[in-house]
Amino acid sequence: MDIRLDATWIDYVIVALYFAFVLGVGWFAKRGVSSSIEFFLSGRSLPAWVTGLAFISANLGAVEIMGMSATGAQYGFPTMHYFWIGAVPAMLFLGVVMMPFYYGSKVRSVPEFMRMRFGPAAHLVNSISFAVAQLLIAGVNLYLLASIVNRLLGWPQWVGLVVAAAFVLFYITVGGLSAAIYNEVLQFFVIVAALLPLTLIGLHRVGGWKGLIEKVSGDGMLGAEQLHTWPGQALSGFDSPVLSVIGIVFGLGFVLSFGYWTTNFVEVQRALASKSITAARMTPIIGAFPKMLIPFIVILPGMIAAVLVSDLTEFKRLTVAGDAAGASATGVTYNDAMLLLMRDVLPNGLLGVAIAGLLAAFMAGMAANISAFNTVVSYDLYQQYVKPGQADEHYLKAGRIATVAACVIAIFTALIAGNFSNLMDYLQTLFGFFNAPLFATFILGMFWRRMTPAAGWTGLVAGTLSAVVLWSSSEFGGLFTLPGQGLAFVSAATAFVVDILVSVVVTRFTAPKPAHELRGLVYSETPRASLVDPDEAELPFYRRPVPMAAIGMVLVIALNVVFA
C-alpha cells in the first residue's frame, strides 16, 4: 500500500514543537510549581469559554476527524446528522436539564452512580463492560496512530502498532494526561488550524462550492443523494424514507446521542469544573455552537477527497458496484479519505500542522482510554472485588500493570478495527452495545425512584446481550442485512428498549432501596435548592442557559432545513 505523506524536516519540527508544549506543561504540572497551572487543572472556577472548548475538544478525536471524513466520502451530507441530530440537541438537553442534577447530586462517575444507586451487581456489570469498551476503542485510536506512522515512514503495520503503543505509554508516563485541559484546548486550535485550510484549499481545487456540488452529483454512484441530509437512506440503510427518518431521529438522535452525552463523564466533568451551576450549564450549550460548524471541516474534506483523489474515487466506484476484491486491490479505504486529501493538497508546513493535530487527537484519545481502563480495573474491579483493603501503593502498582497490559491488548484490538473499511460502522456498533443499555438504565434509575438494584444489573445485561445477538445474527448469521449504519442504529434501539422492558418487569418482583439512600441519586430525591442558581436571572441573555439553548435549537433546525 503506497500512500505516503511526503513530510520534510520542517513538518517534523512542527510536530515536535507541539509535543514539547504539551509535555512541557504536563511536566510543570507534575512538579506543582505554578498555582496558575493548578488553577486550570484542579478544575475550579474555570471560565465558561474554556470549559466549553475543552468540552467539544475532548470529543474531537479520531472519530470526528477520520470517521466523519470516511463517512462523508461514503455518503455525503447525511453524515451531518451525526452533529446536527446526533450531538447538538443532546448537548443542549444536557445543559438545560441534566446539568443541574449532576451539579447538585453526589454523582461523579458512571460506575460510582451504578454502585450507589443499584449496588454491587450493576456496578460489576457496568465496570466490566466499560473496561472492555475502553480496550476496543483504544484499539481504534491505536490503529489510526499506526496508520499515520505507516503513511509517514512506510513502516509495516505491525511495527507501527508497536511503536505507537510504546509512544502512548511514554506519553502517559511523562504526564501528558496531567495537562489535560491545556492539551484539549490547544488540540482544538491546532486541529482547526489544520483542517480549515485543508477544506478551503480542497474546495478551491474542485472549483469552489459549485464545483463540489457538480462533481458530487455527477459522480455516477450515489450522485445527488449525497447532497441532501434528509431522508438519508444511504446512511441509515433503510430504503423507506419514513423508516430512515425514524431510524435516524430515534436510533441516532435519541438513543445513541443522548446516551453518549448524558453518560459520558469525561464531558460532564469538564462542565463540573466551572464556577457555578449556570457556568456548568452553559458549558455544553456554548460548545454546541462551534459543534454545529465542525462538520464543515471534517465532512467536506471527505466528500472532496472522494471526487478529487483518484485512488479513492476508484475504491468507491468498485465498492458501490459490489466488487470487493477489486476495491481492496486499490489499497485504500474510506478511512484514508482525510490522509489522502492531506497528501494531495497540503504543502509542507501546513502538512506538519495537520499531522501534529491528528497525532495529538489520536494519542490523547488512546491515552484517555488507557487511563480510564486503568482506573476502572484498579479501583472498581480489583480493589472492590479482588483484593480490598490494601495500601495505596498496591493499587498504584496494579494500575501500572493494567496500563502496560492495556497498551499491549490494544495492539490486538487495533487489528480488529483494521478490518472495517469505515471505522464509524465499527464505533457506532460498539456504542450500541455499551452506551445504549447504559443510558436506558441510567435514565430510568435517575428518574424512577422505585427501580430496584436487581433491575439495574439485569437491564444492563439484557440490553447488551440483545444488541450483540441482533448484530451477530445479521453479521454472521446473515438473517437480514441493513447496509450503512442502520444495523448499529437498530441494535442500539433494541438494546435501549429491551433494557427498559426488563428493568420494568424485574422491578415488579424485587425490592427497591429505601428513599433516604437515594438522596442525590434520583431527581425527585435531590433538594430543589441545589438545582437552581438564584443569581441567574440577573445575567444578560447570552449568559443564560435557556435563551442560548433556544437560539442553538433554532440554528440547528435552520441548518437541517438549508441542507435538507
Binding site: 512542527i14 508544549f21 474531537l60 476503542i137 488550524a193 463540573l272 451551576i277 497540503l346 508546513g349
Partner: protein, 163 residues
C-alpha cells in the same frame, strides 16, 4: 461521536456548594510579598473587569481558624500559564513558521497542489493574527486567583479559586 469515556479518580472536587466564595482579604493590586509563582505579572493596563466584592461569608475552613492572614491567602495573576497565553504562543509560533515558509519556499510543485494559492503564507498570517488576539486578550483581561494554603495532610497543598 468520539470515544474515550473516562472517569478520573484523581479529580478531587471539594464539595463546595455553588456560589461559595472565600472572602477576599487582600487588595488585588498588592500581592503579598513572597508569593510563589515566578511568572506572576500584574497587568499594567487598568483592570477591565469590575472588582469582585465578596459578600461577607465565614472564612474558609482550611485557614487555621482565622480570617485569611494565617493561611497565606494572596491574590495572584495567572501569568505565563494562562491558557490564552499558551494558545497565543503555540499558534503564533506555527504562524511564524508557516509565514516564513510561504515567503521563501513557495515552489511550482506546491502551487500545483494547492491550485495556485500560497497556502502557507495565508494560513500563517491568519494564525499570527489569531495568536495576537489571544495574547492581547490575556494581557487586557487577566485572570486573577486567590491562593490559600491548606492544612498539611490535605489532598491538595493549595486551595485556588477565581476572584
Amino acid at each position: 461521536m468520539s470515544p474515550a469515556p473516562e472517569h478520573r479518580r484523581g479529580t478531587h472536587r471539594a464539595d463546595t456548594a455553588p456560589g461559595d466564595r472565600a472572602s477576599e482579604t487582600h487588595s488585588p493590586d498588592a500581592p503579598v510579598p513572597g508569593g510563589r509563582a515566578p511568572e506572576d505579572r500584574t497587568a499594567e493596563a487598568p483592570v477591565v473587569e469590575p472588582r469582585a466584592t465578596a459578600p461577607s461569608e465565614p472564612a474558609s475552613l482550611e485557614g487555621a481558624g482565622g480570617d485569611g492572614a494565617g493561611d497565606g491567602a494572596h491574590v495572584e495573576t495567572v501569568g505565563a500559564f494562562d491558557i490564552r497565553t499558551m494558545i497565543g504562543a503555540l499558534i503564533g509560533l506555527f504562524g511564524a513558521i508557516l509565514t516564513v515558509l510561504g515567503l521563501v519556499a513557495f515552489t511550482a510543485a506546491e502551487a500545483a497542489k494547492t491550485g495556485g494559492v500560497n497556502a502557507n503564507l495565508w494560513s500563517g498570517l491568519v494564525m499570527l493574527a489569531v495568536a495576537a488576539a489571544f495574547l492581547l486578550w490575556a494581557r487586557l483581561e487577566p485572570i486573577r486567583i486567590v491562593v490559600r494554603d491548606n492544612e498539611p495532610g490535605a489532598e491538595e497543598p493549595h486551595d485556588i479559586q477565581a476572584l
